[in-house]
């Protein structure tokens, strides 16, 4: 007998009072999305627990997928049995033997939610401890640091047995905290900012600025690949690709070189804000980290932020580069970000950008040009793609593999 379901524990969710149902529905939908390639899987959820019923699908692959889903505190592969003591014993022994390797120690943790069960917690621990010790020669108890923790959960409807407790990604289910726009450059930071925002339940649409021929098809592909990595976590992400060449050329012409970067950022923010308004988002997320580059000094942020009062979320603001890279490696975006193609931020970098731009000065420089029609045009011509975990593969070549 192998495990037939995965028991999911909610963690922080359970404290959300009246919103709980909304949160659990979101989580259920996200898990469904992430596991949609496992056709036979069924998901059942109630206020306390959620269950992924495997129905013959590959359990270990499903476990790998679940590890990335926000809103899960921990989960365990489990077997459901009825409350017949003999059946429970049989199931516990086979499950345990599957997991057991020579020399392992164990303990038993019982949760007796059904207070009417014939045995009390101590009696259950005793009964099953004795059962294992009798049947597995050489097995030893270690209650402090066991190799295997056999968990017995006695609930109203049935008994659940599990041997493993796998840590989930924590956080809140993606989409439970509203929608915002992620400015996605293709660098290392912005995908990490997106990831951390999702962790707290934000739903995202990504905005990328594309300047052909200054930036190549490959830099666009890079952004699509990065978005796909994020979509692996949330199920799908809308990506807006903004044509930006014309505006960048205009800036080069109209604004003094050392202020061109500040203006570029201001215009990117205005365009993103416009796309946000059209798509009913409530905030903008960036990958800025204080002091990392010229555009990320406090003075720069002050001058750039001037164009909008939409909340700008900067999840990385206090992080060091090394901390950011650690997360990027964990979520598998580091290598993609490191592909060496020009992006919109690197092409037009002035030789000595102002690290302390003045808000009034940049306003003054921009006052000679009416950027509004250009902004509208860019927003209008924005290409919108829905990215799902399969996008990159579907898009081409499927028949070759």
């Amino acid at each position: 007998m192998n495990y037939d379901r995965i028991l999911i524990r909610y963690g922080e969710l359970s404290t959300k009072g009246r919103n709980r149902k909304h949160f659990i529905d979101k989580l259920k939908r996200n898990i469904k999305q992430v596991l949609r390639n496992f056709e036979n899987v069924k998901i059942e959820g109630n206020r306390e627990r959620m269950f992924v019923l495997l129905n013959g699908e590959n359990g270990s692959e499903i476990i790998d997928h679940l590890k990335n889903v926000f809103g899960i505190q921990s989960f365990s592969p489990a077997i459901k049995v009825d409350k017949n003591l003999e059946n429970m014993k049989h199931a516990a022994l086979t499950l345990f033997k599957n997991q057991y390797k020579d020399g392992n120690t164990f303990k038993i943790t019982t949760k007796r939610a059904d207070k009417k069960f014939i045995l009390n917690t101590d009696e259950i621990n005793h009964t099953f401890g004795a059962l294992l010790l009798k049947n597995i020669p050489g097995l030893k108890v270690d209650v402090k640091n066991p190799d295997i923790n056999l968990q017995i959960e006695i609930r109203e409807e049935a008994v659940y047995l599990s041997c493993e407790n796998i840590l989930g990604a924590g956080g809140l289910p993606v989409g439970s905290s509203g929608k915002s726009m992620l400015m996605l450059s293709g660098g290392i930071d912005s995908p990490v900012a997106g990831y951390l925002s999702m962790k707290r339940g934000l739903e995202m649409e990504a905005v990328h600025f594309y300047s052909p021929p200054f930036t190549s098809e490959r830099s666009k592909q890079k952004v699509i690949d990065l978005t796909e990595k994020l979509a692996n976590i949330s199920g799908s992400i809308v990506l807006h690709i903004v044509p930006f060449t014309e505006i960048q050329q205009l800036i080069q012409k109209q604004v003094p070189e050392n202020y061109s970067m500040t203006t570029t950022r201001r215009l990117m923010l205005r365009i993103t804000d416009e796309i946000r308004r059209k798509n009913e988002g409530l905030a903008i997320i960036t990958g800025e980290s204080l002091g990392q580059v010229a555009s990320q000094t406090l003075e720069s942020m002050f001058a750039i932020n001037d164009v909008t009062n939409t909340p700008i979320l900067r999840p990385l603001i206090t992080m060091d580069k090394s901390e950011i890279i650690n997360i990027a490696e964990k979520i598998d975006t580091f290598e993609i970000s490191n592909r060496p193609y020009e992006d919109c931020c690197t092409v037009f970098v002035p030789s000595s950008p102002k690290t302390k731009p003045k808000r009034d000065k940049v306003r003054y420089f921009e006052s000679y040009t009416d950027f509004d029609p250009y902004i509208s045009k860019a927003v209008e011509n924005t290409e919108t793609i829905l990215i799902t975990p399969q996008t990159v593969k579907q898009e081409s070549f499927e028949d070759l593999f």
Partner: protein
């Protein structure tokens, strides 16, 4: 035709050929070129790498594409020796390795490295303790094949990996060329640092292969140039070949899932029937051997004669391994497991693919019996 020589090479799957042709003709751009044709080739190569990694359950950046098993083995062994010669100059391997391992070791010996060859028992299996005993402060690499190409014996890779885990200076290389698609190997659970596979052994094309290099493991490159494959193996990438190999591996794993039981049945049947023929000795061990390889001798016949006699009936088998069968020397693997030289000279290897059937096995047995009788008459 009955093709029982799949350890020498396999017939490429039709789908594999289709992929190869399509990529060669339609996506011939150089992955290093800046334009969109180059980008497409690069993407194909990336996708091939990703698929290989997924199938082998490793990371994408741990797959190095090469021209095949021989090259992968050479890079693994000499690359390690070059990179870590400052750490030590001692390498350990077994007595029954493929020539691409053995000869790499011998070449290093000429350069001043010392090599320990671990002996095998009569089943062709090494004792893990022998490796533990052979390790010194100077040891930098242990190279052990998973499945032997001549007799099919399987080494306890997991136990060796667990042993070597305790020695942080020693890298662990596994030649998995014969095992892949036939005998499962979990690269991560066995603590393998370097692992060789070859495309044409699983219905891919000749000239394609890969070397798994665990993240964090550093080895030197042997081929310098434009810096492809993370500067480890320069030269324009064989995109079509790698796409074809990725497809072949996926299809092979599918076949393995569906038909492994059938393959085991065929091998058991061959073994049972051959054993009943007078004068036949089976060299492949009963336990701990791969499902597709069966090695046996028929007393009194030169192997070569027998191969040609079967060939007349459109049945194709091999004397020892393809790589050494032209040398007219007794197989060193067979000698290593204690087979007498005259018997070793008459050794025949059958190697199966998932395409082979029980009917073929029955026909083959009939043919062997006939041939034995016919040849005995001639030779009297």
């Amino acid at each position: 035709m009955i093709y029982f020589d799949n350890s020498s090479t396999t017939k490429p799957y039709q789908e594999v050929m289709d992929s190869f042709c399509k990529v060669s003709l339609e996506y011939f751009g150089n992955p290093s070129s800046l334009h969109s044709m180059g980008a497409k080739s690069e993407k194909l190569l990336f996708q091939a790498r990703e698929q290989m990694a997924r199938l082998l359950k490793v990371h994408t950046n741990e797959i190095l594409f090469t021209s095949g098993g021989t090259e992968s083995n050479n890079i693994a062994i000499k690359g390690t020796a070059l990179m870590h010669r400052g750490r030590g100059r001692h390498l350990i391997t077994t007595e029954i390795e493929h020539p691409s391992v053995r000869e790499s070791m011998e070449q290093l010996k000429e350069l001043g490295f010392s090599i320990t060859y671990i002996p095998v028992d009569h089943n062709g299996i090494i004792n893990v303790n022998d490796i533990a005993d052979a390790i010194t402060d100077e040891t930098i690499l242990v190279s052990v094949m998973h499945v032997n190409n001549e007799i099919g014996s399987i080494q306890a890779i997991k136990a060796i990996g667990q042993l070597l885990k305790k020695y942080s200076k020693v890298l662990f290389h596994v030649d998995h060329v014969q095992g892949i698609g036939k005998v499962p190997l979990s690269i991560s659970e066995c603590f393998v640092d370097l692992c060789t596979i070859s495309g044409h052994k699983f219905h891919g094309l000749k000239g394609t292969g890969a070397l798994f290099i665990r993240n964090g493991v550093k080895i030197s490159s042997l081929i310098s140039g434009g810096g492809q494959e993370w500067k480890l193996r320069s030269g324009t990438e064989n995109v079509a070949g790698m796409v074809a190999m990725a497809r072949a591996l996926r299809l092979t794993f599918q076949q393995q899932e569906k038909h492994l039981d059938k393959m085991i049945k065929i091998k058991d049947c061959l073994r049972r029937e051959l054993e009943m023929i007078q004068g036949v000795t089976i060299h492949t061990p009963l336990n701990h051997s791969a499902p597709h390889i069966l090695n046996f001798s028929i007393k009194g016949f030169k192997a070569e004669v027998f191969v040609h006699a079967l060939e007349e009936k459109e049945m194709f088998v091999s004397t020892t391994s393809a790589c050494s069968s032209k040398k007219q020397k007794a197989s060193s693997t067979l000698l290593a497991i204690g087979v007498p030289e005259d018997e070793a000279m008459s050794a025949i290897r059958i190697s199966l693919s998932y395409e082979n059937t029980l009917e073929e096995a029955a026909q083959f047995i009939e043919a062997v019996k006939e041939t034995v009788i016919r040849l005995r008459e001639v030779m009297k």
